[in-house]
Structures are given as structure tokens and as C-alpha cells.
Assembly symmetry: C2
Homo-oligomer: 204 residues x 2
């Protein structure tokens, strides 16, 4: 199909498709003339994946590029592969100011192993905790532990369902299964808060 | 203090402070000359709150404006107040295309009341589910229910600790307690995934 049909079938504007082609997150079509190319179902599938990652996933094009590269060139070890797939984007890179000691102390308290490889995630946790401090927001006693325990149970359940048949299926599942449910989890929490509020304060 | 001192003590650039003043998220100082004003500790406290909401909270200035307005003019009913505080921003406004029937059916299955007031949250859930469909990502059996149950337990624990002494304290706690832990929860999930992966695949 031509780019105009690819646009109408995917719902992605032609200008955006051209941007994705330039950024190499969408593979080139088969050139049929100097200014024309043919696209197929693989382009449609890829566009729907990009839209999901950029839209609800809220990822940058650079991060989408990295994720698609991981799907196409999966590493050998399963743990390394999962690590790449769950790594935060460049925006969350290591910052010398982050308070890793605090994070490492928490991890030991929770019985989690402290791996220097995972420092970019540690930096994200340090920053999330710092943001609470900056806003002078003190978590109620036990709240952090309560959050950690629920997230540990969620992650354990998630890991148990990772397909291990082919690297591509694993990475696709882990990358999407990490990113896509994030919005879902946050909106479920807000809805659950509304429900709990109605129960407690609205005579429910 | 002058604006230059406010800037150095808060770590917020003068140009950004001026932007916050123009956007009315930071209250004016006391004017001492045509081009000079004095600021005090209330400005410092407000700047630290704005930084937390804009930074890790990732909120737009319009949303910060709305939240600060809610803190200053709290509604009368506690449930309404909690509703305002947890409402998503304008970006998540109601969209006629969203599949509310699917959301309402899920809510009934979970034993949650369906209130038309909360439709903007329903739209967010509809979109989060649609994004999974768009990416052709199928949640494993029972995953949605598992997420919902954990979020319900988290929300119930959170609601139990809301201070109800003054409207301002309540709104401040609910607004910040809704927004600020979002990053925390997501990073804890990613760390928990790394931990679970190490346990399962890395000989842990």
C-alpha cells in the first residue's frame, strides 16, 4: 500500500509516519519510484506498537528506538535481557547527587540484593524519595514498606508469566508488560481511592 | 528578601520564579518600589511545593494552578474534596470514543460503585486498556484482577491515614499523597521486577 493508505488504515498522519521513518523507528518501505514506496502489514503492526509506546507509554522517540532495537537484537542471558527491557530511559540516568546509601539501606531492609548494574533504577528511587522530602510530604508510618510489599507481589506474579520460548517473545512481553501497565496501575489506584473515599465519607 | 535571594535559597532560577508569578501559581511579594518586591518564607515553601509537583509529579502549570486553588478554597464535603484532589488533569478529559461500558462492567465485577461524576477516571482506564489492545499486548489471565486487588488494598491503606482535622491539611495530604507516590510506586515495581528476575534467572 502507499503511504496515504498506511496513514488512513493506521490513523497516524502522513507527516508523523515520515518522522518515524526518518528516526528509524519505522522500517523503510520498498521503493517503487524516486518519491514512492510500498508498505505492508509489518508497517501497520509496527505503527500500532509505536503509538502504544509513545501514547499511553509516554516514551520519547529515543527510548522507543532503544526498545525496538532490543526486540530486534535480544541479548543472550535472560536476566540481562529483562534488565535491558526494564531499564529506565536516558532521562533517569545516574546523577552523582542521588542518595544511593539511603536506597541501598532500604533494599537490604527489604531483603533485595544490591547490584551496581541497577544504579539507574536506584537513582530513580532516590529521586522519588527526594521529591517527597522537597515537598515536605512525610509518608505515614509503614506506607513505604506497604508500597514495596505490594509491588514485590505484583512483580513476582508478573515474572511468573514471562514467556521464555523465544528471545523476541520474551523481550516484547517484558518491554510492553513493564511499560504499558504503568498507566493502568496508576489509574486503578486513583479509582480505588475514589471507591475507598466513597465508602468512608459518602455513606457507602 | 529580594527575588535574587529567593532564587538562591530555593534553587529556582529568577526567570522561572517570574514565570510562576505571571502564571499566578506563586503569590506576589510586597512591592517596595516600581521594580522591586519583598518575599518571605511563604514564598520559599510554595516554591518547594511547585517544584515537587512539576518535577517528579510531572504536572503542567495549569494543573498545579488548579491544585493550589483547591488547597486554598477547599470544597465542603470530604468526598468531593478527595474527588477534586484525585481528579486527573485536563489532558485526561472525557472522550466520546472511550469505551465506558467495558470499564463499568469491570467495576461491577470488582464490586466498585459506578458514579457518572468519576467519568474522567473511567476514560483514563478505558484508554489504558485500549493502549494494551492497540499494542496487541494481551495481559496474562488474572493479571488485571491481580492489579486491581493490589491497588484496592493500597488505596484502602492510604485512605485510612488521611488527616481530617482541617480542609487544608486534608487536601494537601490527598493531592500530594496521590501524585507524589506515583513515581515511587512505578520505580518500586521496576526494582521488584529486577529482584524477581535475579531470583528466577540469575541463580539467586
Amino acid at each position: 500500500m502507499r503511504i496515504s493508505e498506511l496513514s488512513s488504515r493506521s490513523g497516524v498522519p502522513v507527516a508523523t509516519i515520515k518522522f518515524y521513518l526518518r528516526e528509524h523507528v519505522l522500517h523503510d518501505g520498498v521503493r517503487t519510484a524516486a518519491t514512492q514506496a510500498q508498505y505492508d502489514e509489518t508497517h501497520l503492526a509496527r505503527l500500532s506498537l509505536i503509538r502504544a509506546l509513545v501514547g499511553v507509554g509516554g516514551l520519547s522517540i529515543a527510548r522507543v528506538h532503544q526498545i525496538l532495537h532490543t526486540i530486534e537484537h535480544p541479548p543472550e542471558s535472560m536476566h540481562e535481557l529483562l534488565g535491558l527491557a526494564t531499564a529506565p530511559g536516558a532521562a533517569a540516568a545516574h546523577d552523582a547527587d542521588d542518595d544511593h546509601d539511603r536506597v541501598h539501606a532500604l533494599m537490604r531492609e527489604w531483603g533485595w540484593r544490591v547490584s551496581e548494574k541497577d544504579c539507574s533504577t536506584h537513582a530513580s528511587l532516590a529521586r522519588a524519595l527526594q521529591a517527597l522530602d522537597d515537598a515536605e510530604f512525610v509518608l505515614p508510618d509503614g506506607a513505604l514498606r506497604m508500597y514495596q510489599q505490594h509491588m514485590e507481589q505484583i512483580a513476582t506474579a508478573e515474572l511468573a508469566t514471562v514467556p521464555t520460548g523465544s528471545p523476541e517473545a520474551t523481550v516484547r512481553f517484558v518491554v510492553l508488560g513493564t511499560v504499558l501497565p504503568e498507566s493502568l496501575l496508576l489509574v486503578l489506584r486513583r479509582m480505588a481511592q475514589q471507591e475507598a473515599s466513597a465508602r468512608r465519607f459518602d455513606g457507602g
